[in-house]
């Protein structure tokens, strides 16, 4: 794993202008993904993790959305300064993506093979024949049983797990250096999820590509990622290596999240809870956004937005009173 930064998101703001008011979906997000690293971006629904991915890809629906400020540096270039045409050529070739619903990412009326060949031809400028050979190789690599037959099938003839394999094959066929995976296993069953996660990890390691894995499942992160960033209400509240965050979560929100998941590996008497619900994105609370739900909030928390504090090697937390140990 190199120390070179591949993707760096600095103070990103993405707002949506709606009838109800301005939704500050992302309000000051900082992220960095190193080469060959799997970064997990965790958070609950509505925390802005998917919008972060869309902002990186330049796919924020506009109107009503707009990236209002910040920088997104990818391999040293600022993606926010790119023209739509330049972004199109980056997407799919240098940055690839996988979404939650593989069914809706594939066109239902074309065969799997045609769709794969088309993508490979588009990005690699090769003949149909060699694109087909590459498509077969990719299907082999994602451990698809009987790849020849799969090429001739339509999306509805494959199961969710198989389709997600196809999506991974398509995404990796153009040798991207960054893969954005938005809840890639949420729609799958646990036994299939385990297969897909293992597969993704192996392929990524082999290619030395980096992944931004967006998920709400802490277990998936713990099993798959090297580093984690935890999002809450449009901001990153904590980031660090998987080991240090899971061993000693420093933000009360991260800690709360971990404690309120029933652990299948042991009997728990009473689950801890985080009181309340996710704040309204139109009128987020002032100061630290978590303070209305935080057990250790003080007057400072409701007034001053906490700056990132270093609590360990590579472990940064945005909290006035970080947890110890």
């Amino acid at each position: 794993m190199g120390e070179k930064l591949l993707l760096q998101v600095e103070d990103l703001h993405t707002y949506f202008y709606t009838l109800q008011g301005v939704i500050k979906a992302i309000d000051g997000v900082n992220l960095c993904v190193r080469e060959g690293e799997i970064l997990g971006l965790v958070g609950e629904s509505g925390c802005g993790k998917s919008v972060t991915a869309l902002s990186i890809l330049g796919l924020v629906p506009s109107p009503p959305g707009r990236v209002e400020g910040g920088r997104i540096l990818f391999e040293g270039e600022d993606l926010l300064a790119k023209t739509p045409a330049e972004m199109r050529s980056i997407r799919g070739s240098r940055i690839a993506m996988i979404f939650q619903e593989p069914m809706s990412s594939l066109n239902p009326v074309f065969r799997i093979g045609d769709q794969m060949i088309e993508v490979i031809k588009l990005h690699k400028k090769v003949s149909t024949g060699s694109a087909r050979i590459q498509a077969l190789e990719m299907l082999h690599e994602v451990r698809m049983p009987d790849p020849e037959a799969v090429l001739a099938k339509y999306p509805f003839q494959l199961s969710g797990g198989m389709l997600q394999r196809v999506m991974i094959a398509i995404a990796l066929s153009c040798e991207p250096s960054l893969l954005l995976a938005d809840e890639p296993t949420t729609a799958l069953d646990v036994t299939v999820q385990a297969q897909i996660l293992n597969l993704m990890k192996d392929l990524i390691r082999k290619r030395n590509a980096a992944v931004l894995l967006i998920t709400h499942a802490l277990g998936v992160v713990a099993q798959t990622c090297d580093a984690v960033s935890v999002m809450y209400a449009g901001t990153v509240v904590e980031s660090g290596s998987v080991e240090s965050i899971f061993r000693s979560p420093a933000h009360p929100y991260t800690r709360g999240l971990m404690e309120c998941i029933p652990d299948p590996s042991r009997k728990s008497d009473k689950l801890k809870i985080i009181p309340g619900t996710v704040p309204d994105p139109v009128n987020p609370p002032p100061g630290c956004r978590f303070h209305p739900r935080c057990y250790k909030a003080t007057a400072t928390c409701s007034q001053i937005r906490p700056d990132p504090v270093r609590v360990g090697p590579g472990h940064v937390v945005c909290c006035h009173y970080p947890e110890e140990g």
Binding site: V190, V192, A194, Q195, L197, P264, L271, I274
Partner: protein, 329 residues
């Protein structure tokens, strides 16, 4: 089992097949065997967890017990009375005892009804209360699930997912049922809200002396909620055991695989995972013999021929496998 009190609910040989119709004349060309011979029992004040992956038939079992599906065959006894043979006024009266909580809080409440009407509907249908009395009762129910009764004139879209799920629970409690069928009650919710709902359900169980049939795909949640757990695979129960035993020492290879597929939140436990190969077969065309043999690492020749029955494996445990695992962990 002799120490156990009489079961509140007992299901015997439950089968539910759905027809596959094709063509202009809508001829039946096959059957989806969603539930294919399920036996289970729920005892008073206990929570029976029903786990399995999508398409295993766990939701269908719940809907059959609530008599929302006509069963293909089998018997469902509630306090000794056979629900499948009830009709008319007797069925109507019996329905008060068994209520449902659904997965999707979006679809479980009519968007055009105020909360007061939704929660009050069961009372109105059974003619138990109206006017002022109904309003009082609805306010009580809302308070019971931790909502502000002042909001009873609002519409569902003004509530968050967790609050809507509370409203769904309040509605299910309106008729003072004895058994609640909880069909994935928290899988559409965020984790921080999920724990609130789970704790609420446990409190309510204590306070109102309820029994739960808890249907879920999330093993962590099931372990937290249940005293006993039944594992389903392709329309059949493959293992049924007290939850501690099941998690500590699974007897069926499928249970073992399921347990090890759960991504642990401990990054140190990465290497221990046994992952299953392949996909779940279609319930329209299940494999011969043991339905799990196509994915089972321990499968032998007879597994493909002979279907194993759910057998007593001592200490209140049951397993449907020719070669159950012993102390393999």
């Amino acid at each position: 089992m002799t120490r156990m009190p009489k079961p509140l609910l007992e299901v015997r040989g439950l089968k539910k097949y759905f027809e596959i119709r094709k063509g202009f004349l809508m001829r039946t060309v096959g059957w989806v065997k969603a539930v294919d011979g399920v036996d289970l029992a729920v005892y008073p004040l206990e929570t029976l967890g029903l786990v399995g992956e999508s398409g295993c038939g766990k939701t269908t079992v719940g809907l059959c017990i609530a008599r929302l599906y006509e069963v293909t065959s089998g018997k469902i006894y509630f306090q000794g009375a056979d629900l499948t043979s009830l009709a008319g006024e007797k069925l109507r009266a019996m329905r008060r005892n068994i209520q449902l909580v659904f997965q999707d809080p979006q679809s479980s409440l009519d968007p055009r009804m105020t909360i007061k009407r939704s929660v009050g509907a069961p009372l109105a249908i059974h003619g138990l209360a109206k006017g002022r009395a109904l309003e009082e009762r609805v306010a009580d129910l809302l308070r019971m699930v931790g909502l502000d009764p002042q909001h009873m004139n609002r519409y569902p879209h003004e509530f968050s997912g967790g609050q809507r799920q509370r409203i769904g629970i309040a509605r299910a409690l309106a008729l003072s049922p004895k058994l609640l069928i909880l069909d994935e009650p928290t899988s559409a919710l965020d984790v921080s809200v999920q724990s609130q709902i789970l704790n609420l359900l446990r409190d309510l169980q204590q306070r109102l002396r309820l029994s739960y049939l808890f249907i879920s795909h999330d093993l962590g949640v099931v372990r937290y909620m249940s005293s006993r757990i039944a594992v389903m695979y392709l329309g059949k129960i493959v293992e049924l055991a007290p939850s501690e035993d099941l998690f500590c020492m699974p007897l069926h290879p499928y249970t073992q695989a399921l347990l090890s597929s759960i991504p642990s939140t401990n990054p140190a436990h990465r290497a221990m995972r046994v992952t299953l190969e392949g996909d779940i077969p279609s319930p329209a065309n299940p494999p011969s013999g043991c339905r799990f043999h196509t994915r089972c690492t321990y499968a032998r020749a007879e597994c493909a021929k002979l279907e194993p029955a759910l057998q007593d494996a001592a200490a209140g445990r049951y397993v449907a496998c020719h070669f159950p695992l012993s102390n393999s962990r």
